[in-house]
Amino acid sequence: MEAFLQQLINGIQYGSIYALIAVGYTMVYGVLRLINFAHGDVYMLGAFVAYYIIVGLQIDKHPSVGNFVFVLLMCMLVCAVVGMLIERLAYRPIRHAPRLTALITAIGVSLLLENGGIVVFGADPKYIPTIIEPAQAGESGLFVSVGQMIMLVVSLVFMVILRFIVMNTRFGRAMRAIAYDMDAARLMGIHVDRVIALTFALGSALAGAAGMMVATFTSVKITPLFGLLPGVKAFVAAVLGGIGNIPGAVLGGLLMGVIEAFVGGSALTTYRDAIAFLILILVLLLRPSGILGKAVTEKV
């Protein structure tokens, strides 16, 4: 029972990171019907920005809540700008081209970011110095590290804020209108280009926050290919929840994290990474619209 709960906590915590990334996939898909494969690499950039700020300003030597918030906001800002640039330079010029063109462009952007990352940051792994030493724990009970708690809480806060933005602001309404029908939205006087740019900024900022938190609180090694697998898994999470559907992305992310945690802890531990693809194939075969997605006929 204890192991079950511990795995559940591990899964929800890591799932919240998948959810943060998946939300970006799903929002972009919602407005543009584009799978932005470069999204995982924006997450990688978030981790590198965190690394350079923390090491450059020696924040690991002076940890404080204010400093963390500063690093988090900087990562989100940089990633938001990068996200908008990607949209402006790569996707906007081909917005009216066939979807396959956009998809291939997305893969190109992703490869550019990864290999550009190898040139700029170098291929050798980097570590953010240990900031919070793991607490010495007792003999039994459940263990949630401070870092895990922070990641979970911050992710949840961001999701609530996102929900508010999408449902209760003019920008959110414009975004939903574009997702519903881009041409009609334009006729209604919605500044489509600006809303799409802001959608990329929002999604990228969340991916940047996810990258920053994983890099800072799990002391994982950061490499330019750091975003590859999490990006693909988050994409699967978005499809699982129903791509284009924001609560679906959150649900898919959490489910994905929990499933992975249980597979990782079971006898099938070797298949931990494969499970994401198995899920993807099953969803596509059985319910391509995902758990929360509506099985609607697509508009012309």
Binding site: E2, A3, Q6, Q7, N10, Q13, I35, F37, R99, L100, L103, I104, I107, S110, L111, E114, N115, I118, G122, A123, D124, P125, Y127, P129, T130, P134, A135, A137, G138, G141, F143, G147, V214, T218, S219, V220, K221, T223, L225, F226, L228, L229, P230, V232, F235, V239, I243, E260, A261, V263, G264, G265, T269, T270, R272, F277, L284, T297, E298, V300
Partner: protein, 390 residues
């Protein structure tokens, strides 16, 4: 788009995504920088100067450089200097193959030194064998490496011995009975070492309470560690590379696992404690040599190395790189010829060579028989604990 468009586009995305993922696992080709000095005898070196195990390549190359500079300062071999041609394989097996091909075909090297990682040595060795160019791996411990053919040598011990050494140390010195094993499934070295450890440890009366695996690059090991904790082991054997061990150790401590971790020579890197912080204090790993040894050969090497590389203390990989280069030069001298076949024969006859990592004799399987040392991590330093004889 017509009905069912969503399904089509998602399938497209899936297939493209998978192709792309495969592509990204093998990054695009990039020409490695050739470090070439003018000289007579071209010797090839392929190592990981960048990538996930960059310190392996850097350390080994420093050892090779030191040996080469010493040789050239003394006039080289029969008046001919040795020129090193180094290629970076970026910690990637596929790149290792092309690096070795380049060295043999473009640089016309007469012998090749490399790799540290067994997966990369295994990828490149068949090319050396086909071209009949002797290859000496300084530190690949997987037994299959030298089984590729009669041109493939190594100057380090092999995993059946290393696994046995750690198992003996755990059972006889630490007197523990219950060990969990956490293996990197994508890594030949890790899988092999885990296998030999398990064999010996169970023979000595110990019990493997649980076995879990991960793959290189994973950010999260908590689910495996939670299962390991549940099995309540007295130690966890993690035969991986330093790049993941630090993260594993940290997450283990965060889950309240307090037992020591055990590992092999893949832990040997200055970056190990950088990733781990204090989480590895009190853990043990096996290695090829300790710089704290009082053997005059070791002390002389440490002194020269520090002098050459700004006071840096050589790790085992540097020592093995040094030994590998020295043994190659010794064989070239004895062969009295630059013909690869003659160098191969001379290498095979290497006997009692006084290396930094011990007396090196190449056996019939082209492996070196040598003792292993056990080191403990204390105060973020690697401290000598004991030596285990073969």
């Amino acid at each position: 788009m017509k009905r069912g468009g969503l399904r089509t586009i998602l399938w497209f995305g899936t297939v493209l995504g998978m192709i792309y993922l495969l592509g990204a696992c093998k990054p695009l080709q990039r020409t490695g920088g050739t470090v070439s000095t003018t000289g007579d005898i071209p010797v090839g070196v392929y190592l990981s100067f960048t990538g996930s195990t960059a310190t392996f390549g850097e350390s080994t190359y420093k050892g090779i450089q030191l040996a080469t500079e010493e040789l050239n300062a003394q006039g080289g071999i029969n008046g001919r200097k040795v020129a090193l041609h180094a290629e970076d394989d970026r910690s990637d097996a596929q790149e290792a193959r092309s690096a070795v091909t380049k060295l043999i075909q473009r640089d016309k090297v007469i012998a090749v030194l490399g790799e540290v990682a067994s997966s990369r040595s295994l990828a490149a060795a068949p090319i050396c064998q086909q071209n009949r160019i002797p290859m000496i791996s300084p530190s690949s411990t997987n037994p299959d490496v030298t089984k590729v053919g009669d041109y493939i040598f190594r100057v380090c011990f092999i995993d059946p011995f290393q696994g046995t050494a750690v198992a003996k140390f755990a059972a006889e010195t630490l007197k523990i009975k219950r060990v969990a094993v956490l293996t990197d499934v994508k890594n030949d070295y890790s899988v092999g070492l885990a296998k030999y450890f398990k064999e010996t440890f169970t023979q000595l009366g110990g019990q493997i309470v649980v076995e879990k695996s991960y793959s290189e690059g994973d950010p999260d090991f908590r689910s495996q560690l939670t299962a390991i904790k549940q099995a309540n082991p007295e130690a966890i054997f993690v035969p991986g590379y330093y790049s993941e061990v630090g993260t594993i150790a940290r997450q283990a401590r965060e889950l309240g696992i307090t037992v020591p971790l055990l590992g092999g020579d893949g832990w040997d890197s200055p970056k190990l404690v950088e990733g781990a912080g204090n989480a590895l204090e009190g853990s043990y790993f096996s290695n090829h040599y300790s710089h704290e040894s009082t053997d005059p050969v070791v002390q002389e090497f440490v002194r020269k190395f520090k002098q050459r590389f700004n006071g840096e203390v050589p790790d085992a990989l540097a020592a093995l790189g040094y030994d590998a280069a020295k043994i190659l030069f010794d064989a070239i001298k004895r062969a009295g010829s630059l013909e690869p076949a003659k160098i191969r024969d001379a290498l095979a006859q290497t006997k009692d060579f006084p290396g930094v990592t011990g007396k090196i004799t190449i056996d019939a399987e082209r492996n070196a028989r040598k003792p292993a040392v056990i080191l403990q991590i204390k105060g973020k330093q690697f401290k000598y604990v004991t030596t285990i004889q073969p």
